[in-house]
């Protein structure tokens, strides 16, 4: 099912990109057949040409002002930038569409990880089990752990779950106070409704006890 949806999306994406490319090509330089025929006598060297093609005067020599101007390049550059922006927007829309197709809101469950301060815990890896089945095991590099400490939030898992009661267990591995190997777990039982479910694994410092604290938060 997933591979089929991906294939479909790829076809849609290629089609849209081809359509977009064809559209911009037509806008930039219409084909000769599409341009209305202009009598040769009416084309004067001083008159700016409607198309990018250089217009030769009657004697066959290139007119001095037929050379591309800086403004022409600027316009072309703007068009290229416009096309790039359209492609980025399209890519974003496709990404959203893909997520909606693969993970519909009525079954979607997402697990995020955030970290606060991290004085008492150096994160190494997180394992997530849902209904006693391991769904992800993620190893964090020093750079990723540092990004989390700067306020980053990492989406650990995105999947589908049936409506009803479920249990999530997360195991955190790393270095605890005094550089000791540290492994702790956190559990949450949650109700999956008809809407998307977002759960946050939060690591924070419990200063009075000089220990890290692991919580699972259910975002309603």
């Amino acid at each position: 099912m997933n591979s089929k949806s991906r294939s479909l999306l790829k076809i849609v994406c290629v089609g849209l990109l081809a359509g977009l490319w064809a559209g911009t090509t037509v806008l930039a330089a219409p084909p000769a057949a599409a341009v209305p025929a202009v009598p040769a006598a009416s084309v004067a060297p001083s008159v700016p040409a409607a198309t990018d093609a250089a217009v030769l005067p009657a004697n066959g020599t290139v007119a001095p002002d037929a050379a591309p101007k800086a403004s022409d390049f600027k316009t072309l550059d703007q068009e290229v930038q416009g096309v790039k922006k359209d492609v980025i927007d399209l890519n974003k829309d496709l990404f959203v569409l893909e997520e909606e197709l693969l993970f519909p809101a009525n079954t979607q469950v997402a697990v995020f990880l955030s970290m606060d301060v991290g004085t008492f815990f150096g994160l190494d890896s997180v394992t997530v089990k849902i209904d006693n089945k391991e769904v992800t095991n993620y190893l964090y590099t020093a750079r990723e752990a540092s990004a989390l400490l700067k306020g980053g939030v990492h989406r650990l898992y995105l999947g589908n779950l049936k409506v009803g009661k479920h249990e999530l267990v997360a195991f955190f591995t790393g270095k605890g106070p005094v550089e000791r190997d540290y492994r702790r777990g956190a559990t949450i039982s949650f109700d999956k409704g008809v809407g998307a479910k977002y759960l946050e694994l939060k690591i924070s410092d419990r200063v009075p006890k000089h220990q890290p604290e692991f919580m699972v938060k259910d975002w309603e």
């Binding site: 190494d124 190893l139 964090y140 590099t141 020093a142 750079r143 990723e144």
Partner: protein
């Protein structure tokens, strides 16, 4: 006469099977060339985790090895020399041990004193992702994260082929 015919058929079948096997091996080894290198994160000898995608922008040589396969000792020594020479030019060498016995793999690595990071595969999907059917396998990844060369096996003199490939990727 019948015996001769059956023997001929048997020989042909064996030949076809060998050729098919070679085809599969070639396919498995070269299937990754031109595709984005599958990402992985593994624990190093020093306990730190390394992720392949964090080396994007540099030429990466990933050497999958096991103690029992080929001349691992010789290859690690050669890769150590390559790393020392080309590290400053933007080459990253990563050694990945696929040994099931992690303790012995660590002991082996400790005895080698390699200057480049050695990572240990603790049961991830890396073997499947990289089609590791034979050992050792050396994969060269360009600055854009695309697999450019896959070298299966190692024998004395292969390091010069690695050098040609590395120089080509570093020049890009």
């Amino acid at each position: 006469m019948i015996d001769w015919f059956l023997r001929l058929c048997g020989t042909r079948c064996v030949l076809v099977l060998i050729l098919l096997g070679c085809g599969v091996q070639v396919y498995a080894a070269s299937a990754l060339v031109g595709t984005e290198a599958p990402d992985f994160a593994l624990k190093g000898r020093d306990g730190k985790n390394l992720r392949l995608s964090e080396f994007r922008g540099q030429v990466v040589l990933v050497n999958f090895w096991a103690r029992w396969a080929g001349d691992a000792r010789l290859e690690i020594k050669d890769l150590d020399r390559i790393n020392a020479t080309y590290q400053r030019a933007g080459l990253v060498v990563l050694g990945v041990s696929v040994d099931e016995d992690l303790r012995r793999a660590r002991e082996f690595v400790d005895s080698m004193h390699a200057s480049y990071p050695m990572l240990f595969d603790g049961g991830s999907n890396i073997g499947r992702d990289y089609h590791l059917e034979k050992m050792p396998v050396t994969v060269l990844i360009d600055r854009l994260g695309v697999v450019r060369y896959v070298n299966v096996g190692f024998k004395r003199g292969d390091e010069s082929a690695y050098l040609d490939q590395i120089r080509e990727l570093l020049r890009e």
